[in-house]
């Protein structure tokens, strides 16, 4: 009964699609059990033209100093918009950063960005990778100057934003529109929630175990509570994480709880990509917790799990893989 409304919505969408397929692909659609997004599109209304412009920018090396690196270089659709299974991404001149590229789906629900939450708004998020010397190594004024010297972009910005001179605000907002549409909400987990399919026995048991052991931080339906936690990776922090932003020693060693949607595709795991398999991650929580001043209290005695329990939790985690978003043609470079 709870999903009666959703089914009606889905039915309406299906019936509408026949009439208006193209327009509908550029609406923001998410399940009724998702919260209201943080980003409200108030100053940046969602349109097809902005989406297509944002997509072009996302896959264009013009945003980097030597035109070699685009957003899509380190945020790949087939990997749930995380990097191509590397611990540290390669930027301009093959320089490497110190943190793992996170999956960037469902960003409009996130109150802050980056592993340390240092960026407070999705519209200014892209400034960080564009200007970071080990990522795109470019200046904002040079990016805008390159775009303004490109007649195709001049035309596309005119159509999408009605401006003759391209501004950083319009460029950042176009990227925001493209990223805001990356809604991952069609995994097996979602289909089960919507009553369309059922979990296997292992998945169902794994789900129950997940709710007992993991869900206090990886809360449904987005599988994160958006808090900053020290999950016991190190007793001496080489990366201060959240503490680097707040300058509060109580935040040292804490990182944003990542969403687990598409977790099967986004390995390696943790802020530094130290674990390559989900088995290693669960074994860390089972037996590898390292104690330090800011360790999350719920992890003080670890999360004891038998081999069978781990297997079932992993079976459940794999139901969070969304094959729709990783194969949706509208997100691909074109």
């Amino acid at each position: 009964m709870k999903y009666f409304f959703l089914s009606i919505l889905v039915l309406t969408i299906i019936s509408c699609k026949k009439k208006n397929d193209d327009d509908l692909a550029f609406q923001l659609i998410y399940p009724s059990y998702f919260p209201t997004p943080v980003y409200n599109f108030k100053n940046n209304e969602l349109t097809k033209e902005k989406f297509e412009l944002g997509r072009k920018l996302f896959y264009d090396g013009i945003l980097s100093s030597d035109n070699s690196v685009s957003c899509g270089t380190c945020h790949s659709q087939v990997h749930g918009f995380a990097d191509h299974n590397v611990n540290f991404s390669s930027g301009v001149n093959n320089l490497k950063g110190t943190r793992n590229s996170p999956a960037i789906t469902n960003m409009i629900w996130s109150p802050a960005f980056m592993w340390d939450g240092g960026v407070n708004h999705i519209e200014v998020f892209s400034v960080a990778p564009i200007t970071n010397p080990v990522e795109m190594n470019e200046t904002m004024s040079n990016v805008i100057s390159k775009l303004n010297n490109n007649s195709e972009y001049k035309n596309l910005f005119k159509i999408a934003y009605g401006i003759d001179n391209i501004t950083d605000q319009a460029m950042l907002r176009a990227l925001t529109i493209y990223m805001s549409m990356m809604v991952s909400c069609n995994s097996k987990y979602d289909k089960v929630r919507q009553g369309k399919v059922s979990f296997s026995t292992d998945e169902a048991e794994g789900y129950e175990l997940f709710k007992q052991k993991c869900a206090s931080c990886h809360s449904e339906p987005l599988f994160t509570n958006y808090q900053y936690k020290n999950n016991g990776l190190d007793s001496i922090y080489t990366d201060l994480g959240r503490g680097r932003i707040t300058f509060n020693a109580n935040d040292n060693g804490k990182f944003k709880v990542p969403s687990l949607r598409n977790v099967e595709l986004t390995y390696p795991y943790m802020h530094d990509g130290r674990f390559w398999t989900l088995e290693q991650v669960l074994e860390h929580y089972n037996s590898g917790i390292k104690h330090s001043a800011t360790l999350a209290p719920e992890l003080a005695s670890g999360l004891p799990m038998t081999a069978d329990e781990k297997k079932k939790i992993i079976a459940f985690l794999k139901t969070l893989t969304d094959y729709t978003i990783i194969s949706d043609f509208k997100f691909a470079p074109q």
Binding site: E123, I130, N132, T139, R244
Partner: protein, 253 residues
């Protein structure tokens, strides 16, 4: 409940109409004048205009400093009328960049004629604009006054060379908009004893002296600290010293 709301709304609407119609009958409050903020940058107690690429000796710590960059934000200008209401300058954001002479003259545009007793302004960018996403104009990220990794505008950026610095260079990027180490401050100047009269079609000037050396009056020599790149106690102290060097001087009507 709904009826009450409608009644209140009707009352408000009629008050508004009444006040508008009253205004029309009072010719003395009609028309606009203009106001500019004129900033004179001085080094310490010097009387010559402070300039980039000129060598100065700091009056307190004795450092030799040559600046290549000196720029800061001033925002949210408001003027208080003698009736107690405020005229608020819309989109009031200025990046004062000493590499451009014209940026020392801030044009607040047209405002209603009449008597004004107080000026309010903010050094730095108010917290709301620091959390509202991509901006334009003075607040564009192209001005290199924006921290991308820890979102927020830099209040003041001063860079250059000094033999006292161990690296030979100095770079002070003072920012942070929240908490105890905020570098943003709202100030008021009360000139009610000698009010500013905005006259029809006339430009009035409000002059400030900015002592550019004040920023280093507590922090000491570049031999100790020659670089600040993040919010914190030192940035807060230096920003506060900068604020104290930004002083109202006189009005020209």
């Amino acid at each position: 409940m709904k009826t009450i709301k409608i009644a209140i709304f009707a009352l408000m609407a009629s008050t508004l109409l009444l006040s508008t119609s009253c205004k029309k009958e009072e010719p003395t409050t009609n028309g606009n004048g203009q106001v500019t903020i004129n900033l004179k940058h001085l080094w310490g107690m010097g009387t010559d205009t402070f300039r980039l690429n000129t060598t100065y000796i700091h009056p307190m710590n004795g450092d030799t400093m040559t600046f290549s960059t000196y720029k800061y934000y001033v925002s949210n200008f408001k003027l208080k009328k003698s009736d107690g209401t405020w005229w608020v300058h819309p989109e009031s954001y200025f990046l004062v960049d000493l590499s451009s002479n014209s940026s020392s003259l801030l044009d607040l545009g047209a405002l209603p004629i009449g008597e004004y007793t107080e000026l309010s302004y903010t050094l730095g960018v108010d917290s709301l604009r620091n959390v509202s996403g991509a901006q334009t104009g003075a607040l564009s990220t192209m001005n290199n006054m924006f921290w991308s990794w820890n979102t927020g505008y830099i209040m003041i950026k001063a860079e250059g060379i000094s033999p006292q610095s161990t690296t030979g260079n100095f770079a002070f990027h003072l920012g942070g908009f929240s908490g105890v180490n905020s570098t943003v401050a709202t100030k008021t100047v009360d000139f009610s004893s000698n009010p500013l009269t905005i006259k029809k079609d006339k430009i009035s000037e409000i002059h400030f002296n900015v002592n550019t050396a004040m920023t280093w009056c507590t922090s000491g020599s570049c031999a100790g600290t020659s670089s600040v790149m993040m919010p914190g106690a030192i940035g807060h102290q230096m920003a506060t010293d900068f604020h104290n060097g930004f002083v109202f001087d006189y009005i020209v009507e």
